[in-house]
């Protein structure tokens, strides 16, 4: 089956990861804008990061035959630096207008502060203005309360729930998310959040409707092959191939396709390894020309 990882931070990953992902059948991905493990201190760092998501990272992915898309947004952690947050929100519309930006995100809550809520609400409005879906991060701490408050803010926003994806769900949150009409994401991590076996149990109990599964691999301990591994776990549990395909390809395409900006047919099957981005290639030592 074709595999689509709807949440993976490739900027933090190596070319070995890209190679392994392509070999495992991953053909497309969405890289949400997030924080970098330590706070940025100036607008310029955000802007360069946004530009890299649209430029160099898209090029890198293409070199492995993987179609790269991204979401743009101010993440909840850094929303707490309010003077800087205002600058980021001011420049954000320029980036929401770019090709292959398929949602506003990750937005949401980290520590449930007022500043986080203000940035969250402002970006829900930006999503409506730019006709984009939304990717909502739910907090690690007090996840249920954070998720419920997120659903309230979505309900009060101009967005219809079918254009909102609430991510990083667990056994306590997913039924409420599904009841709201939002899409429901599961992040499969090596230790935390959710694992393949628990996810299979959830699918066995509730079916696949509006579920997405992702690796959310980033600069922490994580595994960019968790989507194909989850597909394998579903097969091992007896799910037919068409269910697997629905989960790992059809659903991400359906959700992010609402942006009108998915580009899934532009990658050559054999990428041109001599290609360059702004004159730079991913090769080392060998001149591309």
């Amino acid at each position: 089956v074709r595999i689509f990882d709807p949440h993976v931070h490739m900027t933090s990953r190596t070319t070995d990861d890209y190679e392994a992902m392509a070999a495992a059948g991953i053909e497309a991905l969405v890289e949400p804008a997030f924080w970098l493990g330590q706070p940025r201190t100036s607008l310029g760092s955000f802007v360069d990061y946004f530009d890299a998501l649209l430029g160099w990272e898209r090029f890198r992915a293409g070199q492995f035959g993987i179609r790269h898309h991204c979401t743009m947004g101010l993440n909840p952690k850094e929303a707490n630096d309010e003077p800087l947050a205002r600058e980021v929100l001011d420049v954000l519309p320029r980036y929401l207008a770019k090709d292959r930006v398929v949602a506003v995100g990750e937005i949401g809550f980290d520590a449930m502060t007022r500043a986080e809520e203000r940035a969250f609400v402002a970006q829900l409005e930006l999503a409506a203005a730019h006709d984009l879906p939304v990717l909502v991060h739910t907090p690690h701490r007090d996840k249920l309360v954070g998720t419920m408050r997120s659903l309230e803010l979505v309900a009060a926003s101009p967005l219809v729930p079918s254009r909102v994806l609430i991510d990083h769900n667990n056994e306590l949150t997913f039924e409420r998310v599904l009841a709201s009409g939002c899409w429901c994401g599961f992040t499969i991590y090596p230790d935390t959040k959710m694992d393949e076996a628990r996810f299979v149990r959830i699918v066995e109990g509730h079916g696949l409707e509006r579920l997405l599964v992702n690796s959310a691999a980033d600069w922490g301990r994580s595994d960019p092959l968790k989507v194909p591994k989850t597909a394998a776990a579903l097969r091992a549990a007896g799910f037919p191939e068409r269910d697997v395909a629905r989960l790992v390809w059809d659903h991400p395409v359906a959700f992010f396709g609402q942006s009108g900006r998915l580009e899934l047919d532009d990658c050559a099957p054999e990428p041109d390894r001599a290609a360059t981005f702004a004159g730079s290639s991913i090769l080392r030592g060998v001149r591309p020309r």
């Binding site: 649209l54 929401l96 207008a97 090709d99 004159g279």
Partner: protein, 297 residues
Amino acid sequence: VGCAQDGGHVISLGGRSLGGRSLGGRSLGGRSLGGHSLGGHSLGGHSLGSDPPDHRQLERVLAARLDAPARRWLEQARGEVARAPGAIATIFPAVARAVGRGPLDPGARAGDVHAWTLDAAARTLLLVALGPAAGGELTLLYRHGDAAERCAILRALAFLSVEDTVGVPLVEDALRTNDLYLIAASLGPYAFARLDDAALAQAVLKCVFVGVPLSGLTGLDERATPELAGALARYAQERVAAGREVPGEIWPLIDRFQPAPELVAIEAELTRPELDRRRAAQSALAGRAVVGARRGS
């Protein structure tokens, strides 16, 4: 090809005339602005002065290539930025989704870095629609623009009335990159009218180094200098001494001024003990003869 013969506007799209229509020699609105072509970048050493060229020919060519919804979108977008210039911040990045990314000339060669694209043409018209507000928007549009947006801005410069303090730094930025499309887009009539001989020579050398074909720089013949010829000849000498190929297209520029010490040094490579250097010299000089014969005929 691509040069205006008598001062009219010629839209040349990568060296081809459009659909067999001859546009040469027709001047628009009675204004003669010196040789100026869209694709071939011919300005022939004339100064643009304060009067930028007319965009209406570009408009007609683009309109013929767009379907009705794309034309409507563009019309609306032009109206919108004319009324509220700030709207260009989010309209400009969205252009390619509405009008496409393909070549403006359907017959353009794939990978032709000099060829206009549909989105660059549409973006140029949007910037023109900004009128006097263009200067205020350009720097941030470029700063936050992706490569296609930046190419469009660079190509549009020739059609805009913006201060040199706004436009020239963008050209200089593009020339610092190694992106073939940005470099090609930056070396249009706007840059040819503003870069001094030394800066232009550096830009041409950069083209040769990174592989931007000089054939797309149609104002180049009139701007060639002995210094440029010497620099290109030293480049050829360096390539030969390294046993490498010399691009044939640099010879006409070298041979206009015949820089003696460099040419003597290249010919001396024919008798080097190292086989690869002798071969490289033979190949380079054979290429020079071929190009010379072609130019002579």
